[in-house]
């Protein structure tokens, strides 16, 4: 079961919200399998100081849930899916373990903890329990170094890059939020831009 650290005072309505969010995060158990099992197993064959080589550095379920909420806040659901909808949080956990340095993983882990701590300290609730306006305000404050220092803001920029990358390289991100040309059929040097024009989701290099 998913263990959530919530305050006794959380209202029943809020509990429902939280449960709904967990319910939406059906990927959590799958994610923990990914992060704790397959990556751990792959890493067991590979030992080098610069990279993750054991499952102890994988994200806890709580951290993953918070990360999921952060993904949703940065790229929310509109007429197209959100970053959380496309399981960006799971992708980020995977990508960090496979393609990034240990220090980058730790920075993101610390960042998530810090966001949650500031949330508890200022709003009396974990980040996941804040309403979406509060969550947005908090991340905006983070980008403005309000209540967070510059290093944290720098780490957030890194995480934001991963969220954006994860989202726009997901199938829905690349093909629904953007315009994906699998086979453009040729090159046209000039086409008009209308209010409906979406940027190309199909890039030369990702």
């Amino acid at each position: 079961m998913v263990k959530l650290t919530t305050k006794q005072s959380v209202s029943s309505e809020l509990r429902r919200t939280i449960l709904k969010r967990i319910g939406a995060a059906v990927g959590v158990s799958a994610a923990s399998i990914v992060t704790n099992t397959s990556i751990g197993a792959a890493a067991a064959f590979y030992e080098k100081g610069a990279t993750i080589n054991n499952s102890s550095t994988a994200f806890s379920r709580d951290a993953l849930l918070t990360l999921r909420s952060i993904c949703e806040t940065v790229i929310p659901r509109t007429d197209t899916p959100s970053a959380a909808d496309v399981n960006c949080h799971e992708f980020i956990a995977h990508q960090l373990s496979t393609c990034h340095s240990l220090s980058e993983v730790r920075n993101v882990q610390q960042l998530i903890t810090q966001i949650d701590q500031v949330s508890r300290a200022t709003a009396g609730q974990p980040y996941i329990a804040l309403n979406s306006e509060q969550q947005t305000e908090m991340l905006e404050a983070l980008e403005d170094h309000k209540g967070f220092d510059q290093t944290t803001a720098h780490h957030f920029s890194f995480l934001k890059g991963l969220i954006i990358f994860g989202y726009f390289t997901s199938e829905a991100g690349a093909t629904k939020a953007l315009n994906y040309q699998m086979v453009p059929g040729g090159y046209k040097g000039s086409i008009p831009v209308t209010p409906e024009t979406k940027a190309w989701g199909s890039l030369d290099y990702y």
């Binding site: 496979t98 831009v193 890039l203």
Partner: protein, 576 residues
């Protein structure tokens, strides 16, 4: 008709072609079409057109790391290959494993050796930019005294350029420039509106630096003949390095191999690592090659009347250095002692860019497989800058920003998301394509003790940039900035990367078995034939005397078909 893929063949061939990339494919096509029984020897695995392009057309979401390469692969398997711009999770199967092909560098130096060890070689992953060399290029060594004089001039190459261009399909405009002879070309790709705007500004402020559309080996408009080859027009995916089932860009698989195969005169031995050439001192002829099976390490030999080395600049030189005999103790056909010396690469170590205002209501469609090009404008000594010799071309393009800038912009939530889905600011970027001077000290040699898993001596590199290359890049960055200012570009930024960038990164390794008129200081004559041994030819980049600024592959093709033509005539005359 003998079996096409047969590495256990015991036949005696007319011609043995080592390598299957751009030059190997052309040599095989030309010899087989003229009726010569030809064996193509390839160290890597078989790659069949269309069938063996497993990642073609796949979106990034179909890769678990979204086309990025995992630390394990990057650090353990591909530490060098992963420095290549085209290397990613979707293309890695067309790059050689650094684990399998180790080499060393002289202390304090570094060469990045990018490899494509499979049937088709780097013709599958090349950047496809295609330009003719001019007489200014071929005369440069003679004109300023750096390097030896090329034994050929433009008139020697021109008909052969035309010959290969018609078959390959080179897209480009007829620009009528003395420094960049026109190709027999298909229509050029279009410039977008910002590029047209920039070209107009440059034409006004820098009349000696025309900005043209980059010429590339793509069927911008396939002719009926190309379609009869099984190739169609470029669909502007620009995912070429995954392989192209449309056959829209030139590769061995799409363009030369089908013709060689159709003759019934071709046999291909894949998984065959050439150890050395078999040389007969009595007749002073090469007889064939010794090969080690890349998979089971067994040894075998192939025999032929003529050997064409088309194994890539470094690959060819490694084979020659490892072919020792009483007459040639320091490598076959190396009586001059220059084999392995004068290693060069292009110098792509300056760039600049800036935002271009306006044009908000315009976008483009498709991913153009080429960019804009400003040919070298310092193409003769009277046009050189005072503080260094030679010059650089410039590549570049204009494009609109995308979500990749999102990390560096503030914003959270729906509006931010929306902004990332819109075409961003117009950006015009340009980069240097500079010459590297031929210098004796820049060398690749066999390592005295280390061997690879096939028991072949590893290579040891000793190559550095000189002040000329550094000064050239500093100058290019300044020139780019000045040019961008005339366009009114904003937030102009330039970068000189030569202090960190090592040779090899342009993947235009050239020289090491250079041509020349004098057999005392060159390995090959003007027909890519070794001075020392009449039936041994080298037609890949090893034969270069200077880098010029243009991308070399089109010239490799012209040199190869010209060498085949000469060789055939010599065979008919029984001089070979």
């Amino acid at each position: 008709m003998s079996e096409l893929f047969n590495k256990n063949t015991r036949e005696e061939f007319d011609v043995l072609v080592v390598g299957s990339g751009i030059t190997g494919g052309w040599a095989a096509k030309e010899f087989t079409e003229r009726g010569f029984k030809t064996l193509m020897v390839e160290r890597g695995r078989k790659v069949e057109h269309r069938k063996d392009y497993p990642t073609e057309g796949k979106g990034p979401w179909l890769f678990s790391e979204r086309t990025k390469v995992s630390n394990v692969l990057r650090e353990e398997e591909y530490p060098v290959q992963s420095t290549c711009y085209a290397f990613n999770d979707a293309t890695k199967h067309f790059f050689g494993s650094d684990k399998d092909y180790p080499y060393s560098n002289e202390e304090g130096t570094k060469f990045n050796w990018i490899r494509g060890n499979q049937l088709g070689g780097k013709s599958l992953t090349w950047h496809r930019q295609s330009y003719r060399m001019s007489d200014f290029d071929l005369n440069a060594n003679k004109a300023d005294g750096h390097g030896n004089d090329w034994p050929i001039r433009y008139a020697d190459l021109a008909p052969w350029y035309s010959y290969v261009e018609k078959h390959v399909g080179i897209s480009g405009n007829k620009d009528g420039l003395v420094q960049l002879p026109d190709s027999d070309s298909l229509p050029p790709f279009e410039m977008n509106s910002v590029e047209k705007h920039v070209a107009d500004k440059f034409a006004h402020h820098y009349p000696d630096r025309p900005m043209i559309m980059g010429r590339c080996a793509h069927l911008s408009q396939a002719t009926p003949e190309h379609m009869s080859h099984g190739r169609i027009s470029c669909q502007a995916r620009n995912e070429c390095q995954k392989g192209c089932s449309f056959g829209a860009y030139f590769s061995t698989q799409s363009s030369t191999l089908p013709f060689a195969m159709a003759t019934g005169k071709l046999t291909i031995a894949t998984d065959s690592v050439v150890h050395s050439l078999i040389y007969d001192e009595v007749t002073n002829r090469v007889k064939g090659v010794r090969v080690i099976d890349s998979e089971d390490l067994t040894e075998r030999e192939y025999f032929a009347s003529v050997v064409f080395l088309c194994a890539s600049t470094i690959g060819t030189t490694q084979i020659m250095l490892n072919s020792v005999s009483k007459r040639f103790p320091n490598g076959i056909a190396n009586s001059s002692g220059v084999l392995g010396h004068y290693l060069m690469d292009h110098n792509y170590n300056a760039s600049a860019g800036g935002l271009v205002e306006g044009f908000d209501d315009e976008y483009y469609s498709g991913r153009r497989p080429t960019g804009i090009y400003i040919p070298n404008f310092q193409y003769e000594p009277s046009r050189y800058k005072k503080h260094y010799v030679r010059g650089y071309a410039m590549g570049g393009s204009a494009s609109r920003g995308n979500w990749k800038s999102g990390q560096y912009r503030k914003g959270i939530g729906a509006d931010f998301k929306d902004s990332l889905t819109k075409p961003g600011d117009w950006y015009f970027g340009m980069y240097a394509q500079g010459e590297m001077l031929p210098r004796f000290e820049n060398q690749v040699a066999l390592h005295p003790t280390k061997k690879d898993k096939w028991g072949i001596p590893q290579l040891h590199f000793n190559i550095t940039w000189s002040d000329n290359e550094r000064l050239m890049m500093e100058d290019c960055a300044q020139e780019c900035e000045a040019m961008l200012k005339t366009v009114g570009a904003q937030n102009i930024q330039s970068n000189v990367s030569i202090y960190d960038g090592v040779p090899g990164q342009a993947i235009h390794e050239l020289g090491t078995a250079r041509m020349g008129r004098d057999k005392k200081n060159s390995v090959l004559n003007g027909f890519n034939q070794t001075h020392d041994i009449p039936n041994l030819f080298v037609t890949d980049g090893a034969s270069y005397c200077s880098t010029a600024t243009v991308n070399p592959s089109l010239t490799f093709m012209a040199l190869t078909v010209r060498a085949v033509d000469y060789c055939v005539k010599e065979m008919v005359q029984r001089r070979i």
